[in-house]
Amino acid sequence: MSESGNPSAGGHVLIVAAEPSMIASLRHRVATLARASGARDELVDDLRLVVSELATNVVQHTDSDTIRMTFRREPTRFVLDVDDAGALTGLEHISAPGPDRLAGRGLSIVRAVMDDVEIVDDDGRRRLRCTRGIS
């Protein structure tokens, strides 16, 4: 895992190979950073879930060799960015699949536990940005 930056100043960047075995490492690392940044247990649990879903999307639905995430604590919210998190066209079409659907639940789960999920363009890099307010 390659890491740089600071969660409270610009963001902490984490890069791992896009392999299923790396998803757990990423999950644990973001949970540790979030806890150290003052996130409560419930939010730490939700972030672990979000990291896992988004990392899985990169592994299963993109050609990317790496998973790149940025975790940042701002004064009023926590922000998690992920590069190339799958086919990100038309987030508005994502809704919770019916109870009989097996797959395709990842992004709707992310939307359910975060306050905001949006696509941002950052210097030509397409990212999925998830935010959750600090209560």
Binding site: S21, A24, S25, R27, D45, D46, E53, T56, R105, I109
Partner: protein, 104 residues
């Protein structure tokens, strides 16, 4: 360097499947192998007391097994889920669909 992260341990006794560890895209094939075909007879109990984390990869396996059980006139009962697993089931809109037993 040894792997410090918890690995998934799945054991089957009769129709009870006991799982410990984290269930994600990497580890869920082990759970899938224990539930396909469904073990034992009657209701299948999946004891998740030892599972601290699960994501939609695990949910996919459980929904599939739930459907196989229903088709065979059996039930898949998810036992002793942790708070985070319950929340996953809830935010996925599956609380009223999957059989969850958190009483024991």
């Amino acid at each position: 360097m040894s792997d410090p992260l918890p690995r998934l341990v799945v054991s089957v006794h009769g129709s009870t499947v006991t799982v410990a560890g984290d269930i994600d895209a990497h580890s869920c094939p082990e759970l899938e192998a224990a539930l396909e075909p469904l073990p034992g007879a009657g209701d299948v109990h999946v004891d998740l007391a030892g599972v601290g984390f699960m994501d939609s990869s695990g949910l996919r396996v459980l929904i599939g097994a739930h459907q196989h059980a229903a088709a065979a006139d059996r039930r898949l009962v998810i036992g002793r889920p942790s708070g985070s697993v319950l929340r996953l089931i809830e935010v996925s809109g599956l609380s009223g669909h999957l059989h969850v037993d958190d009483t024991t």
